[in-house]
Assembly symmetry: C2
Homo-oligomer: 336 residues x 2
């Protein structure tokens, strides 16, 4: 092992803490530190030895960091930070506003190419590993249908929505994949599924004192965009139960591809050559899994930059072998 | 769409027929024909328009074929054919003797580099998609355990073994993944599993007239290497039932990675940050699915060769986007 890959973390919330922990699991990497927009003196890193730097020192540290992992949000942080930092460092981000990916790619690609940096955008699990599995499924089985199910997991946007309902003191929302829909796809049925048939929603709500439970429930289940198109269950619980039972961030889901190949035995029921591919994640902690994906792609970003392969990249552009600490000959011997 | 990718098929058994059908599903490809070691006049292709050529005309067709897909077996065909044909064409093979992959890679790499061809070896589903999922799992969750389960599916080697037992007229063997083992991994238990705990074996046997069923059963279940280390069930059936109920080639299995990330909520039972990744295949027809993977990698081989990226490659070396008919901008917009 030569020099370690020097990693920086830009933004220090749950995702940043996940990256900090993941870097410690990878012996070919070392953490330079965390860059924060807060006063560094007010930030207590999860690992005491982690150094904390002010955001405005970033531009002065370009020689000390091989890959900067951006841990801000997609709404306002990354659209500005990724293009800016791709002009200073090799970067990895988890930009997840699917509709804006092409614009984000272009905004990052130009400064990265100009300054000879490699910038991996929109990685994590969706976009990221789920995107890869949609791609593999559709490339291998061009005649078929792709399904993505999310959950069981906390949706921040839906949790925020229920907290805005009058009478609600606190609450959390879980998205659940609908088991009958998953079973139908697993059985090769290729169903057409409505929004209501794919996912259900479950809310755990703490009422304000004197609030009308029936009215709160009705407001939630009929809320347009968020709940009206789903079968939604509302459970009223105490603040203590919320704190004890709903303090983790599980998530996950499935990408499934059901397709037909042209040749082979025909099943008894006449369905021809039905082939089903399923990729599933069951995550005890969503941000730390996303962080682990970002760290593996940081290794790839470093290797691509070393090879002079600059510009914006997505998971589709990156040979999987670049993610692993082992080199090609070892991977062939141990994993193929 | 410019010119189509011109595909040749070297060897025409179940796998070759699967490739023939898969090429027809991919509008950017066309089939030049099938090359066979049999007398071409005796070969009836599944699609009447498919041309059949003699094997010894291969060397004369190097200008007509962009990628040759090798559909022979790993025991004796591919160790000889892949190095030979990689000196004439871009190739794809499904070499699946895991222990000999490094030697096969080296034997193919040299002629491919020397003649400026791209040679994708050892693709399909295992090795192939399962290998990729072992890699993704281990790169993302370096602290954890990897599990591969196969089945339910026909094992040719084990089917051959039961047919060699005295008193057996015909038979087929299915490998089944053990459900309790899979459930334990899904639940994040990271069990240590013995051979017997991972898979069971199910045999459907047609007896010769006058054969002693009890003796045949005992010979099968106690056969070293093949059955002695497994819980094996033997069903005696009629030749008619074998022909009607066991004439297809289903297969599949699971690759699972159970790992721990360092940061995040700790579960109520004290297990920390357990994350589970699962990739599963349920294949109605094993050879035609393998064929579909080979065809997607033929597209990648073509694109790598066009880019001057020659030599032997495995699934680990190939950016996933190269597999799909769509180009990078479309993939980002539609799938990321």
């Amino acid at each position: 092992m030569g020099n370690k890959i020097r990693i920086g973390i830009a933004g220090y919330g749950n995702l940043g803490r996940g990256v900090e922990a993941s870097v410690a699991q990878n012996p070919d990497m070392e953490l330079v530190g965390v860059f924060t927009r807060r006063d560094p003196a007010t930030v207590s890193p999860a690992q005491p030895e982690t150094q904390v730097f002010a955001w405005d020192t970033l531009a002065a540290r370009t020689g000390d960091v091989d890959v900067m992992i951006l841990c801000g949000g997609s709404a306002s942080d990354l659209p500005q930070q990724s293009p800016e930092l791709a002009g200073l460092f090799n970067i990895v981000d988890s930009f997840d506003t699917h509709a804006n990916v092409p614009a984000h790619f272009a905004a990052v690609d130009a400064p990265a190419l100009e300054t000879k940096h490699t910038a991996v955008i929109s990685t994590g699990w969706d976009p990221g590993m789920f995107s890869l599995n949609r791609l593999f499924g559709e490339a291998i089985l061009p005649q078929g249908k792709t399904y993505t199910f999310w959950g069981r997991g906390v949706s921040q946007g839906h949790s925020d929505a229920i907290r805005r309902v009058p009478g609600v003191a606190a609450g959390v929302q879980y998205t659940l994949p609908a088991q009958p829909a998953i079973e139908a796809v697993r059985n090769g049925e290729q169903p057409e599924l409505s929004t209501r048939e794919k996912h259900t929603r479950e809310c755990y709500v703490v009422l304000e004192e004197g609030a009308d439970a029936a009215a709160v429930r009705e407001t939630i289940v009929s809320m347009p965009n968020y709940f009206a198109d789903y079968d939604t269950t509302v459970h009223f619980i105490s603040a203590e139960e919320l704190a004890e039972q709903h303090n983790s961030m599980p998530h996950g889901g499935f990408v499934m591809r059901s397709g037909d190949t042209g040749h082979g035995a025909v099943a008894q029921d006449g369905t021809a050559h039905r082939q089903v591919i399923e990729y599933g994640l069951t995550l005890a902690d969503n941000p730390s899994f996303t962080a682990s994906v970002l760290v593996a792609y940081a290794r790839a970003a470093y290797r691509l930059a070393q090879a002079g392969n600059f510009g914006a990249k997505t998971v589709f552009d990156i040979a999987p072998g670049l993610l692993d600490i082992r080199f090609a000959g070892e991977l062939r011997r141990e994993l193929l």
